[in-house]
């Protein structure tokens, strides 16, 4: 059963490539729906362990954990309305459907893999559809954005590949299975672990993304198709935090502890800088991109706090922001369809003529900035709590970003929906309601039921948290002391 969320979207993508274009969206949406349904049952799924390349120690190994099951649920849920919206707005709906489904399958494989090399295979495979989406649907200056994206992504990936290639010879692990690796790698000397961790971190920081490896993100979002379906894929693809959480910290706890003093500040600064930059944007899409970057910084501080609460919070926020940020990008696309621009100055007073649009956007924006009761809040809270435990000073920096979030969120709503009227605007259409309903349901679900997810994340992440706790606590305490 664990293979369904991976193979079903991939098979559906192959089928759609062979089908006439008219059916593409229906089949794709149905496939994503079934994937979501299966994903909700993943918690009890049996692990899979099949031989693949014995001489390399690589196997087809998948195992669900609390965090990966939650992320698969969130990603699959977000993909359903995205496919609908892509079918409605893309000029080549079949290309969009195939890319988005292939991306979903590869992404689920990345979450569920329990073999390091297999994880890398899915890591690279999931990159390709996002490149296709940008290349096929991007705007005028997509070429530069594409090259930047490719350069950053592969530079990071190949650094990770270096660590992957080195980790087995160096540790003498029996295979690339997570459990085999962990038994051997945690015994490596701290210096070696730090170098290996740095290789992983290079890839994960690009995909978190955190400063200074985030530069590709804004360009890619700006050049993507205005309707936003490609941006949702980009949002789901911010998997660096998961990579740290599920792979590099459990495998290399001493390395994580050694590099924490360097990485935690970067994440905290990302959170603050993204939020401050978001307050200054004049363009709706850049605004969402920077706001989302700020959230990724909070994911980063949570995971890099190396505390159970912080790491759990990071994963919760990662899942929650898939829904809130994804919904905002599609909303931005709907606004663009009405006005033909993303410039804040061209909007204003939309609340009067499009009250439903204004109401839904307000709700989603509240979720985005972390209002309690909605999806982002529990994760954000736990992540920041973890950050404070690790380092009070950097915790303060990260928390400041939440204050700024309130400012940029309200500002954006104000500029778009309040103020002087700028002409008539059509309210939400029925299909648009349908698209947004999925996101609203997800946002409320993740908001009111954080306990269910966080318990699973924390329980199944046992080895991660234990390894992080046992090795890290003294160092974390020391750095906290230093900060004081």
């Amino acid at each position: 059963m664990i293979l369904v969320p991976i193979l079903l979207p991939l098979i559906a993508a192959a089928l759609i490539a062979a089908l006439p274009a008219a059916r593409a969206t229906v089949v794709a949406t149905f496939a994503a729906g079934v994937t979501f349904g299966v994903a909700t049952q993943l918690g009890g799924a049996a692990a899979i362990n099949l031989p693949w390349i014995d001489s390399l120690g690589v196997g087809v190994r998948f195992a669900p954990t609390g965090a990966s099951a939650m992320l698969v649920i969130a990603a699959s849920l977000a993909m359903i309305p995205t496919l609908v919206q892509a079918g409605r707005t893309a000029d080549r709906p079949r290309v969009a459907a195939v890319s988005l489904l292939a991306f979903l399958g590869a992404l689920n494989g990345l979450f569920l893999a329990s073999d390091l090399v297999l994880m890398y295979v899915f890591w690279e495979l999931s990159l390709i559809p996002t490149l296709v989406l940008l290349a096929a649907f991007g705007l005028d200056r997509k070429r530069a954005a594409l090259m930047k994206y490719v350069a950053y992504a592969f530079a990071g990936s190949l650094m990770m590949l270096a660590s992957i290639a080195a980790i087995r010879p160096l540790s003498g692990a029996e295979s690339y299975a997570l459990s085999d690796l962990q038994a051997a790698t945690t015994a490596l000397p701290a210096g070696v672990q730090a170098w290996l961790f740095a290789g992983f971190a290079a890839a994960f920081m690009v995909k978190l993304p955190i400063l200074p490896l985030h530069a590709w993100l804004i360009d890619v979002h700006r050049q993507n198709h205005p309707a936003g379906f490609a941006d949702v894929a980009g949002t789901l693809y911010k998997v660096g935090g998961f990579g740290l959480f599920a792979w590099s910290i459990p495998l290399l706890p001493a390395g994580a502890a050694a590099l924490q003093p360097a990485l935690l500040p970067l994440a905290a600064v990302t959170a603050l800088w993204g939020a401050l930059a978001a307050t200054q944007q004049t363009d709706l899409k850049s605004f969402i991109a920077y706001g989302s970057l700020s959230h990724m910084g909070i994911v980063g501080v949570g995971v890099l706090s190396l505390t159970p609460a912080g790491m759990t919070g990071g994963m919760l926020l990662l899942a929650a922001q898939m829904l809130s940020t994804g919904a905002l990008f599609l909303l931005a696309g709907m606004l663009h369809a009405r006005r033909g621009t993303f410039e804040f100055t061209s909007f204003g007073g939309l609340g009067a003529t499009a009250p439903a649009l204004a109401g839904v956007t307000t709700l989603i924006m509240f979720a985005f900035v972390g209002v309690p009761g909605l999806s982002n809040f529990p994760g954000e809270f736990l992540a920041l709590m973890g950050a404070f435990n690790a380092s009070a000073a950097w915790g303060v920096v990260a928390v400041t970003s939440v204050v700024a979030a309130g400012v940029y969120g309200v500002n954006a709503l104000h500029k778009v929906f309040l103020g002087g009227k700028t002409g008539e605007t059509a309210d939400l259409s029925r299909p648009e309601w349908g698209v947004l309903a999925f996101f609203l349901a997800g946002i409320l679900w993740f908001g009111v039921n954080p306990g269910g997810f966080s318990a699973a994340v924390q329980a199944d992440a046992g080895p991660t948290v234990v390894a992080a706790q046992t090795t890290v606590t003294p160092v974390a305490l020391a750095s906290e002391g230093g900060a004081r």
Binding site: W52, V121, L125, M147, V150, L158, L161, A162
Partner: protein, 468 residues
């Protein structure tokens, strides 16, 4: 009739190739217009490959030396010989319809291809320097003629360049062998290996080994001895270019692997450091050189140099253990499949017309020939090292072997320069899938299509190969 202690099994491949070459030549004598020679060559190469597979299965991991140390038989040597045969087969299929393109009769073309292949197989099995040189010269003399096969100025120039530099490289190699002989009193790898370790052989042996390294570096197209490669590759006709970058490269690495593992286990550290520096230069020059090339063929030529760098990494690791030798053998197989496929599609798209081969002239291939475009995308992705294709696992194996052998800085450099590779291969992929009109009509004749299909299967199913 067969001398005692000689296994027919061990020499079945070269004997088959010799018979094949003779038959193909004879057919040409009696009927100039017949294509029978080509069929014989393909059949003979296939039969030889069958013998090779049989030997690989029978032998297991056993190694043995025949003819008084001169002929080495072992799994790695046989695997490389098989890759050489595969490369020869694919390049014959690619070039099948090129016959008569410039009004030249060609019964001898296939004969030379088979002879060159024979030379390559001999190099991969060499147990001493004399056999290595013999194989090298059989290979080189055949390829000099092939490079200048058609009466076009560019090909004549390519042939001449290749001949002059090849002769120069051979001379350096022979000088190195002579010095090594002077220091150790032997041409046999095993004896040299033992005496380099046991006695104080001094400067003479180091100088000899360095000269051998340089001679081999020419053949493997290591920077800074690579300059002939792009020129000759571009000047020669595409099927010959494919043959050179597949068979000649595999043979050169097969021979180098023999030298490094058998003759140099105790070689002076300076030689290995020198090899490491050459590899580093090759990785940088190959990858950055490819970035600025205007045509697909030139990009492939520079990428062939870059891939020599990755193979070199395995070669260097092979000095420390069998992991590296296996990595080189697997990398060569992956490289042969993806490069042959890329050359096949490139030949279909541009023929030998450099103007039609400019990257921008590839625009529209995706719409006009989706099958060929998908295949080319796969080949390029594999060359760039995207998992789970063949090139990724090849790269993974050599990098892992390099870490295993302690060459950390070189492994990291190899990965850093691989980022650039993604950019130049990506440039071609983007062009393929953009709208536009192709430079010329693209047709894929049946045998060329077969070469593409075989390559696609190997590139995609590489990770499923049972022995890996």
């Amino acid at each position: 009739m067969i001398p005692e202690g000689i296994s027919l099994q061990a020499v079945a491949v070269p004997v088959t190739l010799l018979i094949t070459a003779s038959l193909a030549l004879l057919v040409g004598v009696f009927n100039r217009a017949s294509r029978l020679g080509g069929s014989i060559a393909i059949l003979g190469l296939t039969v030889a490959a069958g013998f090779g597979v049989f030997d690989l299965l029978q032998r297991g991991s056993a190694t043995q030396n025949y003819f008084g140390l001169q002929w080495h038989a072992g799994p790695v040597a046989t695997a490389i010989a098989l890759t050489i045969l595969l490369g020869a087969l694919l390049s014959l299929l690619i070039g099948w319809n090129a016959a008569g393109a410039y009004g030249v009769e060609r019964p001898e073309y296939e004969t030379l291809v088979v002879l060159a292949t024979l030379g390559g197989v001999v190099m991969a099995h060499a147990g001493d320097f004399i056999v290595l040189l013999l194989g090298l010269e059989i290979l080189s003399l055949s390829v000099y003629a092939l490079a200048a096969w058609n009466p076009r100025a560019s090909e004549e120039e390519a042939g001449m360049k290749y001949f002059l530099l090849g002769a120069f490289a051979s001379a350096i190699l022979i000088y190195g062998m002579a010095l090594t002989y002077g220091a150790t009193g032997s041409f046999a790898f095993d004896t040299i290996g033992a005496s380099l370790g046991s006695e104080n052989v001094g400067l003479l042996a180091v100088a000899g080994s360095l000269l051998i390294l340089i001679g081999l570096a020419f053949k493997m197209s290591f920077a800074p001895f690579h300059q002939w490669a792009p020129d000759v590759y571009v000047g020669a006709s595409m099927p010959v270019t494919a043959f050179m970058s597949l068979v000649v490269k595999a043979a050169a690495f097969g021979a180098a692997l023999r030298v490094v593992t058998a003759a140099w286990p105790n070689v002076d550290g300076v030689v290995l450091q020198g090899l490491a520096v050459l590899i580093a230069a090759t990785l940088v020059v190959g990858n950055f050189g490819a970035l600025v090339q205007p045509t697909v063929k030139r990009i492939l030529a520079y990428s062939a140099v870059a891939h020599a760098g990755y193979l070199g990494l395995g070669l260097l690791a092979a000095h420390q253990g069998v992991v590296g030798a296996n990595a080189v053998a697997w990398y060569l197989l992956a490289y042969t499949a993806m490069t042959a496929g890329a050359f096949a599609v490139a030949y279909a798209v541009s023929g030998d017309d450099a103007a039609a081969d400019e990257v921008d002239r590839w625009r529209g291939l995706g719409a006009a020939k989706p099958g060929a475009a998908i295949a080319m995308t796969l080949f390029l992705a594999s060359l760039a090292g995207i998992p789970p294709l063949a090139g990724f696992f090849g790269k993974f194996l050599v990098i892992q072997a390099a870490f295993d052998a302690g060459w950390v800085w070189l492994a990291v450099l190899a990965l850093v320069s691989a980022v650039v590779a993604v950019l130049y291969y990506g440039r071609i992929v983007i062009a393929i899938w953009r709208d536009g009109r192709l430079g010329r009509d693209v047709t894929l004749p049946a045998r060329l299509r077969l070469a593409v299909v075989v390559s696609v299967v190997l590139v995609v199913a590489f990770a499923g190969l049972p022995a890996l």
